[in-house]
């Protein structure tokens, strides 16, 4: 009898193990409507999978958009909003199961274009829209001569500093060079009581963003004229400088293990003198009203003209058998890029425009001036190269190691990763 029970227990546990393992695999197949209507019939309902930029505004905007879309075009739009944390996983699952949405909102597109999954602008984007999109974004949205990565919104980084701490430490102006930045950081850290000069997030969440801003302002690049330049002398110099800041304890504790959100929290609490921020951080600071801050161009190593790091996310369009969704998708973009749609949306989320007409419209906002001036010349990461989608992850996971190791060795390794993945 006892052995019966035991083997029943073993069987039960084996099942439990399997179920748990299967659940751990995270194959949460979504309920995607069946778009593949037989015989190439035209699709009347398309599906949008959108990223959740904010709890308050994202859903409200897309719901209203879907309503207008239905009224104006006769097509229906089904909207699914997914948090950034889950978006990669969910979109990958959808594609594995052959249930890609018609339109997907994500921070990468080139790998999808490479896999031949996407419509190019020739097929779904009205010419007037394409000519309105800022040339920088068209450039980075183009893979092998065709424009696939249609930007939904953008952001540009800028240098934020705590004016109270600057006054207290006796610093008159924001730094223009890295030497001045180091000096300011020393003075602020010297104030004691837990103040840190510069908040440096090199944790795995977004270290490529932080490092981009720094290396662009030392004349560096990730990729130049078709060649990876991750371990260029400028980039090694840049990372060595960051390590120097950390070694002198001018940053917060353990920068290699600090994610961006935690660094922002530190600045919001008034304990950090300087940080790289963007417009949503400004909005959060204004709402709190606790910290006095100002925004300036990021200092460069040698005091030359400052460059900014720009980021866009994408709304990419998936092909379906027989191009049954082409007309509906085209109608979607036609409506989305109308001024009263896209600009309302970008404003409500606190980001920056992606079109010429958008820049004109946002120009009146004094607070955005510092970003708008730099936006048309912003430098982006090489999002037009599918390899970057992999390199980005390698950078996120490994860059922080330079804080306790050798910056050159870390960059050499990343360079090798990029070259072998190309």
């Amino acid at each position: 009898m006892r052995s019966m029970k035991t083997s029943a227990a073993i069987a039960g546990m084996a099942l439990a193990g399997l179920v748990l393992a299967a659940c751990g695999g995270g194959t949460g197949a979504g309920n995607t409507p069946d778009n593949t209507v037989g015989g190439g019939a035209e699709t009347k309902t398309i599906k949008l999978v959108a990223a959740e930029y904010s709890k308050d505004n994202t859903k409200a905007f897309w719901d209203a958009f879907a309503k207008t879309y239905k009224e104006k075009t006769g097509y229906s739009l089904e909207v699914q909003i997914i948090s950034w944390d889950n978006l990669d996983q969910q979109s990958s699952t959808m594609i594995q199961n052959n249930q890609a949405p018609d339109i997907l909102n994500l921070n990468a597109y080139a790998s999808y274009a490479k896999d031949g999954l996407l419509y190019s602008s020739d097929e779904v984007l009205p010419e007037s829209v394409k000519s309105d999109i800022l040339p920088t974004f068209v450039k980075y949205g183009t893979y092998q001569g065709k424009f696939y990565g249609f930007p939904d919104l953008s952001s540009a980084r800028a240098f934020f500093y705590n004016t109270d701490l600057f006054t207290e430490a006796g610093i008159a102006n924001p730094p223009k060079t890295w030497a001045e930045l180091e000096d300011a950081a020393k003075k602020i850290t010297g104030l004691g009581s837990g103040n840190v000069g510069y908040a440096l997030p090199l944790g795995p969440e977004e270290s490529q963003g932080e490092f981009s801003m720094w290396l662009f302002n030392n004349g560096g690049t990730w990729k130049d004229q078709g060649k990876w330049t991750i371990n260029s002398p400028q980039n090694v110099e840049t990372l060595t400088f960051l390590k120097k800041l950390a070694d002198q304890k001018l940053t917060q504790n353990n920068p290699a293990r600090t994610n961006r959100a935690d660094a922002f929290d530190l600045f919001k609490s008034g304990k950090a003198g300087m940080i790289i921020g963007f417009s949503p951080l400004a909005a959060a600071l204004d709402e709190d009203g606790k910290v006095k801050y100002a925004v300036a161009p990021f200092p460069t190593n040698d005091g030359s003209e400052s460059k900014t790091f720009g980021v866009t996310d994408y709304l990419m369009a998936f092909k379906k058998p027989g191009n049954s969704n082409q007309a509906a998708v085209k109608a979607f973009y036609e409506l989305y890029y109308q001024k009263d749609q896209i600009n309302t949306w970008i404003k409500s989320e606190g980001f920056l425009p992606v079109t010429q007409s958008g820049i004109e419209e946002f120009r009146s906002d004094e607070k955005l001036k510092v970003y708008l001036d730099t936006l048309p010349n912003a430098q982006l990461t090489p999002t037009d190269d599918p390899t970057w989608d992999r390199v980005k992850l390698a950078v996120q996971q490994n860059l922080g190691r330079a804080m306790t190791g050798d910056p050159k060795a870390v960059l050499d390794e990343l360079q090798q990763t990029a070259e072998s993945a190309s």
Binding site: L15, L18, A21, G24, Q96, K114, P204, T258, N398
Partner: protein
């Protein structure tokens, strides 16, 4: 036991009819995902999730050759053994205390359930805040008491990370374990213990010779289920470890997730292969454990 047609003879098809819902459940919830998982592990996927074709056993080879596999396996062993061992020991002590009659026992028992009722992600996030280097209450307390001068980086300092995760693991595993032991202790007949007392056994002898042996089924259940839960525990390791690069403190479960979505591999096929290894690993561990238990039982007779 079902023995064909003895008791109120039933046609096999009728029996099948009664079994159908359970069978459908097993097929749909267990077998189907397992087959899909195996299929995925033998396929080649693009970074986007698009299936490119068959991969044979390549994904398995890639997992076995992964430079971080050793670290991940070592972490998994430390994590499972530490959490389960500490949980069982603490659980035994606390259960012993909670079966005693005292005023307010009911409320204490309720309170014990709370960590179990809360979502693991929320609990983990809460501990992230408690452990925080700049604002965390734990550092604040330790400094105020004078135990340390500078804060401890519980989640970012490699020598502390695993310890900090184990504490949370024990915290969330305790409620279930305690209640299994309370049930086990309540099932021990009082007269056996009384008889022992009459025979002059000391409290420790009573516990060692009577309570513990009679608690063996509860101990076995608690150990096996905890090993499976802790082994498969994703939220704690993932949340407390999200600031750390690479696979320094990952267990096989978070390793599998990162392979699919966060690492430079970003390969669903490889992740599925790692998932198959996970299932085999936990099955092997549980079988070996049950073997040992059986073997002890046989030799003790």
């Amino acid at each position: 036991m079902l023995r064909g047609g003895r008791v109120g003879s039933v046609h096999p098809l009728v029996a099948l009819l009664w079994l159908a819902p359970a069978l459908a459940l097993i097929l749909g919830v267990v077998l189907y995902p397992a087959i899909k998982l195996f299929g995925a592990s033998r396929s080649e996927y693009s970074i986007t999730g698009l299936r490119r074709g068959d991969a044979g056993w390549d994904n398995y080879a890639k997992v076995l050759e992964h430079p971080s596999l050793g670290t991940v396996l070592a972490n998994t062993v430390t994590w499972v053994v530490a959490v389960v061992a500490v949980t069982i020991l603490l659980g035994l002590a606390l259960a012993q205390f909670l079966v005693k009659q005292f005023p307010g026992r009911r409320y204490v028992r309720w309170a014990v359930i709370v960590p179990w009722a809360a979502s693991l992600i929320i609990t983990s996030q809460l501990f992230v805040l408690l452990y925080d280097y700049n604002y965390g209450i734990i550092n604040h307390l330790l400094i105020n008491v004078g135990l340390i001068d500078t804060p401890i980086d519980f989640l970012g300092d490699d020598s502390w990370t695993m310890f900090s995760m184990v504490v949370v693991g024990v915290f969330v595993s305790l409620p279930f374990t305690i209640f299994v032991f309370i049930a086990g202790l309540n099932a021990i007949p009082d007269d056996v213990l009384e008889a022992a007392t009459v025979d002059g056994a000391s409290p420790w002898q009573r516990y060692r010779r009577i309570t513990l042996p009679l608690l063996r089924p509860a101990l076995m259940i608690a150990t096996v289920l905890n090993v499976i839960y802790v082994f498969n525990s994703f939220p704690i390791v993932y949340t407390l470890n999200d600031r750390n690069p690479g696979y320094l403190h990952d267990t096989t479960i978070t390793f599998m997730y990162k392979l699919a979505f966060k690492s430079q591999e970003k390969d669903v096929g490889m992740s599925a292969a790692a998932g198959i290894f996970n299932v085999l690993l936990i099955l092997a561990v549980v079988l070996i454990y049950l073997r040992i238990i059986n073997w002890r039982e046989e030799t003790s007779r």
